[in-house]
């Protein structure tokens, strides 16, 4: 019998710590599949963020580095500049990339570092217990916006991908989602392109992935996917940004 589906070599055989219905497991697997398919497992170096994905290196079976909260792209810069022959990527949440690490994000992008960024946007802080993220929608209730996010006091959801697209050093930006099988396939295609760009020395490539966090959206896993499809993509439209 032909085996048509199996665990990627770059994904360890361990059980997950993520909540039921969380998008991180899908995104981790997509990266592992892509690393295998591009044949770069022996030269890839992943940068794990601070946030729910802090122990991403427990799942991926290749070299990985920790980064302090928000500093993933400074860490990726340091590694890539020392070892340009390696394929270096960051995996960051919305708080990491677009709040505490905004400065590192913008400047790594503006230097046109030849890096791949997988940016998981789930509109909420997961690890710390459901507080407001920079990408939390207006009206969305979180632990720190109990009456719903208000533009008057918390400002608007930060569209960092659109901001980054203005920079000449940025070569590729796409926003995708994990809310359906078709979208997962598109997400894989986009992330693969972002890795291929680095292999081809094209430059800074980022994929923003809308990802479900049922636990802190207060929804069932299926409802969380529906919420992305019906509500979140109105604020964060999918497709190629640059």
């Amino acid at each position: 019998m032909n085996k048509i589906f199996s665990r990627p070599k770059s994904l360890r055989n361990i059980s997950t710590h993520y909540c039921p219905g969380c998008g991180h497991g899908i995104a981790h697997r997509l990266i592992a599949e892509i690393v295998d398919e591009l044949g770069i497992r022996q030269r890839v170096i992943g940068i794990a963020p601070v946030g729910c994905a802090v122990i991403a290196y427990d799942y991926w079976d290749f070299d990985c580095c920790e980064a302090a909260h928000g500093r993933a792209l400074a860490v990726a810069t340091g590694i890539k500049r020392v070892r340009p022959q390696n394929i270096v990527f960051t995996y960051q949440g919305d708080g990491d990339l677009a709040a505490i690490g905004t400065n590192e994000t913008i400047h790594a992008a503006n230097r046109g570092e030849n890096l791949t960024v997988v940016f998981i946007n789930n509109a909420v802080y997961g690890m710390t217990g459901g507080q407001m993220a920079p990408t939390t929608l207006l009206g969305q209730k979180t632990a720190t916006t109990p009456r719903g996010r208000s533009a008057a006091t918390e400002g608007w959801p930060l569209k960092i991908s659109e901001m980054l697209a203005l920079l000449p050093g940025v070569k590729f930006i796409e926003r995708t989602s994990l809310h359906s099988v078709q979208e997962v396939i598109k997400t894989k295609r986009a992330i693969k392109q972002a890795f291929q760009n680095q292999v081809d020395k094209i430059g800074f490539s980022l994929v923003e992935v809308l990802s479900p966090c049922p636990t802190y959206l207060g929804l069932s896993p299926v409802e969380a996917l529906e919420w992305i499809r019906k509500t979140m993509i109105k604020e964060f439209p999918l497709g190629r940004i640059k």
Partner: protein, 365 residues
């Protein structure tokens, strides 16, 4: 290797010493009074086969250094007091991930934005860890441009040997002053062909032919972090045992021993020379390693000698003073003379203080 004489500022000598010591990665953010250092790196590191990055902030710079060290390079950053405060989080991560890296602090006056005059008021920050967690950095304190150059190679060597951050603690005066010094070569580019990455099995290079390497400071499993901390403490114990360094003068017959480091030690030395010419029995201890603090030298002293007094002199209001007191352990009186915020105790002030001390200690006739 043949040596050449050149004239340089302390900041430039530190940069040149680093490149000659194998530094191949520098990231920094401009701040006075260490700007000659970053400019020297910008000019000379690339021709030496290294990487130079002017980072967007001190935070980015120290995290780039964390990363370059993780990738196996000899990496450093430099700054001055307020910038070093910003780097503390990164230094804690470097210590926690057991990475070798060198951090240069050309101290200025504080607290806050303070001013740009020389000071020694970051001693506590450098020697007590500085960031969060139970960790220590190896701290070296040069007192001349030549020593600043020479200590850079040692800093990288110690950082590599112990997989631990090493700090060069200088001050604005040392950074800015020019002195002649002997260098291995006025052309750092001679090292261009040399392998820039020493063989470090733990480094991130891609997992070809081996199991994946993980660089991290995160231990969530019950008991793991405590075990890791105990291992760090064991390492620190060895460093304390093996790496104490200091310079001394006239300890044999001294009745008053001055203790000072860095720029302050040069001024203290001038005072010792003058007082000796006057027949006063004065000695000097100049710690070169501030952590580990050279407490062995104090224990060797005849501290039971009732005539002996110790005078600590700092460009601060008494920070190294605590370490001297711990080392002396109440076996002799420890006096203090210090100024800060840009004030530097002068030779005359030291001499007056010593004379007063001698007068009060002389038996009444």
């Amino acid at each position: 290797m043949a040596k050449t004489k050149v004239l340089m500022t302390g900041n430039e000598a530190i940069a040149e010493g680093a490149i000659q010591g194998g530094c191949r990665f520098y990231a920094g953010y401009p701040i006075t009074p260490q700007n000659e250092l970053i400019a020297y790196m910008a000019r000379h590191l690339l021709p030496a086969g290294g990487v130079f990055i002017q980072a967007e902030s001190e935070l980015a710079a120290i995290n780039m250094v964390f990363a370059a060290a993780a990738a196996g390079s000899r990496a450093m950053t430099s700054s001055s007091s307020p910038g070093i405060s910003l780097k503390q989080e990164g230094i804690s991560y470097i210590a926690g991930a057991e990475l070798p890296a060198v951090i240069v602090n050309i101290m200025r006056g504080g607290p806050g934005l303070g001013n740009i005059w020389p000071a020694q008021s970051d001693y506590f920050q450098a020697t007590r860890g500085g960031g969060h967690g139970d960790y220590r950095c190896i701290v070296l304190a040069p007192s001349s441009v030549q020593e600043a150059y020479d200590l850079m190679a040692l800093a990288f060597e110690l950082a590599d040997r112990y997989r631990n951050p090493a700090i060069i603690l200088g001050d604005g005066m040392l950074g800015q002053m020019m002195e002649p010094l002997s260098v291995h070569s006025p052309q750092p580019t001679v090292h261009r062909k040399k392998n820039i990455l020493p063989n470090k099995k733990w480094a991130l290079t891609g997992c070809k032919g081996r199991k994946p390497n993980i660089i991290k400071s995160f231990y969530m499993k019950e008991g793991d972090l405590e075990k890791f901390n105990l291992r760090l403490q064991e390492k620190y114990k060895i460093i304390k045992q093996k790496e104490q360094r200091c310079d001394s003068l006239f300890l044999e017959d001294a009745q008053v021993i001055l203790v000072a480091y860095g720029t302050m030690a040069r001024i203290a030395r001038g005072a010792v020379t003058k007082l000796r010419e006057d027949g006063k029995k004065i000695g000097l201890i100049r710690p070169v390693t501030l952590w580990p603090f050279p407490d062995k030298v104090f224990k060797r002293l005849a501290i039971s000698d009732k005539r002996l007094a110790i005078l600590v002199i700092e460009m601060s209001y008494g920070q190294m003073l605590d370490d001297v007191r711990l080392a002396v352990n109440c076996q002799a009186p420890v006096e203090f003379l210090g100024r800060s915020g840009g004030g530097v105790p002068s030779e005359g002030e030291i001499i007056n203080k010593v004379r007063k001390l001698l007068r009060t200690r002389e038996p009444e006739n």
